[in-house]
Symmetry: C2
Subunit: 322 residues, 2 copies
Amino acid sequence: MTKIATIGCGLIGQGWATVFAQAGFDVAMYDASAEAAERALETMASRISDLVEFELVTAADAPRILQRITVAPSLEDALNDAVYIQESGPERLDVKREITQMLDAIAAPDVPIGSSTSGISASRYCKEIAGRHRCLVVHPINPPHLIPAVEIVPTPWTDPDIVSKVNALMIECRRETIVLSEEIDGFVVNRLQGALLEEAFKLVGSGIVSAADLDKAISDGLGLRWSFMGPMQTIHLNAPEGVAQYVERYGEMYRSFGVGPSDSVDWKDVANEKLGPEFEERIPTSDIPDAQAARDRKLMALLRHKAQTRSETPPVSPVTQE
Amino acid sequence: MTKIATIGCGLIGQGWATVFAQAGFDVAMYDASAEAAERALETMASRISDLVEFELVTAADAPRILQRITVAPSLEDALNDAVYIQESGPERLDVKREITQMLDAIAAPDVPIGSSTSGISASRYCKEIAGRHRCLVVHPINPPHLIPAVEIVPTPWTDPDIVSKVNALMIECRRETIVLSEEIDGFVVNRLQGALLEEAFKLVGSGIVSAADLDKAISDGLGLRWSFMGPMQTIHLNAPEGVAQYVERYGEMYRSFGVGPSDSVDWKDVANEKLGPEFEERIPTSDIPDAQAARDRKLMALLRHKAQTRSETPPVSPVTQE
């Protein structure tokens, strides 16, 4: 069995342990507080039975998954023989620096050290560390055992082989990886969320719409397609000749709303130089009609699913919980 | 039977006709091209059998729904006795003005005239029209028969009773209505989409991430929750004491990314003045733990659904279509 070490036993560390164990890895968890580590095992047992209820884990697999996860008595024990280290410590620069320094001193050479941080670029704490070539950010979306997306963010010193190795490992763990070419504050996920929220706060703040109605614009509008198709693919399918034509038709309209920042990017340049060539590989123009039909089938399947789950999983509340 | 008139028989007009007929209304369709109107009936028959396949319409209801939809021989016939008019003509200001003028001249007094336009505020074409108090935008998301969200946008002259009447009618048609207090370019849905796209174009354009990986940030990340919960409710549930605490914790972080435009709004003000009071009604702080549990159950049900539909609805392509 191949072993992974997860450092820090909070909710993120627990999520990671579940992900790795589901993929068949032995997981050694470590937390400076032995009590926290033991509590984590209990919480994870309850999480895994939820996964069984929703058929995301089979009843036969559940005990095996739990058996693969152990609490290591020391950091040395946790790291011994580990092929990968996932650090999910507190979100403080000084703590990240101290923990990573320690991990690098103990772990075998070239074992990647990924940090779950959502807000601290790894270059800020690993510059002075001997093994900085193996440090990078591997950022999950909360809760990690449910949301497949994972951001992989190298520092200027991260060895490209380390990035490839971590990417392959994450794919083996059925994660959907978003690989950044370089560090940027907020990475990709939170930048996209922040851009949408900024416009949402403006609209609600100005009294144009209530938060409840704005929420419907996503949960009963844009978010339906976005649950199985990203925003770039969505617009690629919204013009007969794909994304470049979409930008030609609607780029000016979006620009006229003034939703972007003042140093706004030229959508046409991006469409011509990056998106066009990339989609020519992913979904060539000739495949668009079939891809549209597949999209509408997924949309109908999602609507059926939403109609079913509306009755199956009512919001739990003291009144209806009987 | 109560009757609704849909003017313009393109894809949007067809979607509306299906929505109204599903809700039990008689629908009179009209198009300047009689041929287009007849073709529309055929397309709709095929759409409705898709809905039957996905259990969104019962097999028994399908013929009844189709029977309720007829093509009117003239505009006068279409409007006669209609309680509501949905205009889905071409997206050109001069055409909108001309059509609306005509509709207002023929239709009985106080019958609301809603336009499907996605980009033209109604005040731009109805100012000089006698019945401008009954004109407004009623904007669906494409395709209208699948996406429930509908934006209702009054002009400065729209009678509030007309807005209430149209809102009630849309709710009766099982639409999820987003009611704006006043006109704004792009309304709400496309402004939110535009803000997200602007950041997406920047990230892909700068080479930080591929469009394929950026798409995963939504389709395997943020978009999962957003398919059943809007962005405001999402952040409300991401802090133990709700949205005001979320903004306190993370507002500065988002601001530091610089994703918003330069005339950025103060998130704290909006949280304190608008969101806090609104959520105290929708999901009071004491209900947050239950709402979080319900969210995670919906998330697991969605993941199960996605796993199932991945095998059930493969992308249709010449290779796999055998």
